[in-house]
């Protein structure tokens, strides 16, 4: 094998491709696709033979390269040439250029004065990330919240609680809204709650929320006469 293979330094298939282009001193706008495809596949083969955990993306790009190669071998029909003269490599080139720009941007970022590496603040301590201290709320993101929930749940070891899905959350939201309205208006009719809603999902959630609240015995439903309007109110007035 004539190539010096740098295995784990590639950040992905695009990176490998860029490396090959640079190594061969190729014009990125005019990639000799047969040559590059061949070298790319050789690298992939070596990675495979070394039992490297080869990400599927490498194979996807291999397929793309082969596809482009075959397209370029096809003779372009005379009559179509004028209105369909797109180079089959165009998409790939654009993707490579974009990736290259961000790769450069990443290097530039790395050149900034990084806190804890190039510059330090007063009393800077590398441990400041950990600990049981309270963190200012503006520093708290949703991710911390989800992590906190994950912690809470995993400590409890409660499998059933693990699923958080959008539906559950929407239901909570709807329940909250209904409780808000009941806290101010004391009594609401079913139609009050359902009437103004145009989205079918919202109507379903509202209905489920009412059922849930009744099941929890937080609200009560009344009906003065059969087929009359159903009214709901808080089960316990405060």
């Amino acid at each position: 094998m004539a190539y010096e293979i740098k295995l784990d330094i590639f950040e992905g298939p695009l990176d490998l491709l860029l490396y090959l282009i640079k190594k061969n001193e190729i014009d990125i706008y005019d990639i000799p696709i047969a040559l590059i495809t061949e070298q790319y596949l050789e690298h992939v083969e070596i990675m495979k033979s070394l039992n490297l955990d080869l990400a599927g993306e490498y194979l996807v790009l291999a397929a793309t390269l082969l596809h482009i190669k075959s397209k370029m071998l096809l003779p372009v029909p005379e009559d179509e040439e004028s209105d369909d003269d797109e180079d089959p490599r165009e998409m790939l080139v654009r993707q490579l250029l974009e990736y290259q720009a961000f790769k450069e941007a990443a290097l530039n970022l790395d050149k900034m004065s990084v806190l804890g590496r190039d510059v330090f603040s007063r009393g800077y301590s590398p441990k400041e990330e950990e600990g049981e201290e309270e963190i200012p709320i503006r520093e708290v993101g949703i991710f911390e919240l989800v992590e906190a929930f994950r912690n809470a749940v995993s400590e409890a070891g409660n499998e059933e609680l693990m699923e958080i899905d959008a539906e559950k959350i929407s239901l909570s939201e709807t329940i909250n809204q209904i409780m808000d309205e009941l806290n101010t208006k004391k009594m609401l009719s079913f139609t009050d709650l359902l009437g103004g809603l145009e989205s079918k999902t919202r109507i379903i959630y509202t209905f489920l929320a009412i059922l849930e609240l009744m099941k929890m015995r937080v609200i009560r439903a009344y009906q003065a006469v059969s087929y009359g309007p159903i009214r709901i109110c808080l089960a316990v007035g405060e």
Binding site: I135, V140, A152
Partner: protein, 171 residues
């Protein structure tokens, strides 16, 4: 080493505790002797005194430390009193359980977290992140809790459906 002044100043600045001349010497190595360090320290000390800012270099407990001047103390106290809203990990967990399981009773939060949450819950109520949404009509009429509008504001959410699910996080 021509920037001894800058190095010495920075070393003291980033330390939590007063820094001794010996310690500075240890970091700077053979090139610089203690006498030079002492001279540099005197220079720095004087520079801060001359410019009459809010910070001074002080000799404390056998070492050197930057400290604020005494006259600015009232303002520092005032700023520290304007406490940003903070959350302990316990508060975060409790909040998270309320967020994803609302409307929820205190006993159910405790069931998940495995500890008493009275104090933490009170804190969240005081910070107006959690509120009582009603009472459950069972013996004891337990209060049920949910999140507030302020919770959405603080976490920059349009509504609760904006919250990511665990599944999304794991992806």
């Amino acid at each position: 080493m021509d920037n001894v002044k800058a190095i010495v100043e920075a070393l003291i600045f980033v330390s939590d505790l007063p820094v001794s001349i010996d310690k500075i010497k240890e970091v700077l190595g053979e090139e610089v002797d203690k006498k030079e360090i002492a001279e540099v320290l005197a220079t720095i000390k004087q520079e801060y005194e001359v410019r009459r800012g809010g910070v001074f270099l002080k000799e404390i407990a056998g070492g050197y430390q930057f400290r604020t001047g005494e006259d600015v103390a009232p303002w520092i106290k005032k700023m520290k009193a304007i406490k940003p809203l903070t959350l302990s990990p316990a508060a975060m967990e409790t909040l998270a359980v309320v967020v994803y399981r609302q409307p929820i009773m205190k006993s159910d939060i405790e069931q998940v977290r495995g500890v008493d949450v009275s104090g933490v819950l009170r804190g969240l109520l005081e910070k107006n992140l959690v509120r009582m949404v009603g009472r459950k009509d069972v013996p004891g009429r337990p209060i049920i809790y949910g999140t507030t509008r302020k919770f959405l504001e603080v976490f920059n959410l349009r509504d609760l459906t904006d919250l990511p699910s665990l599944k999304e996080i794991e992806e």
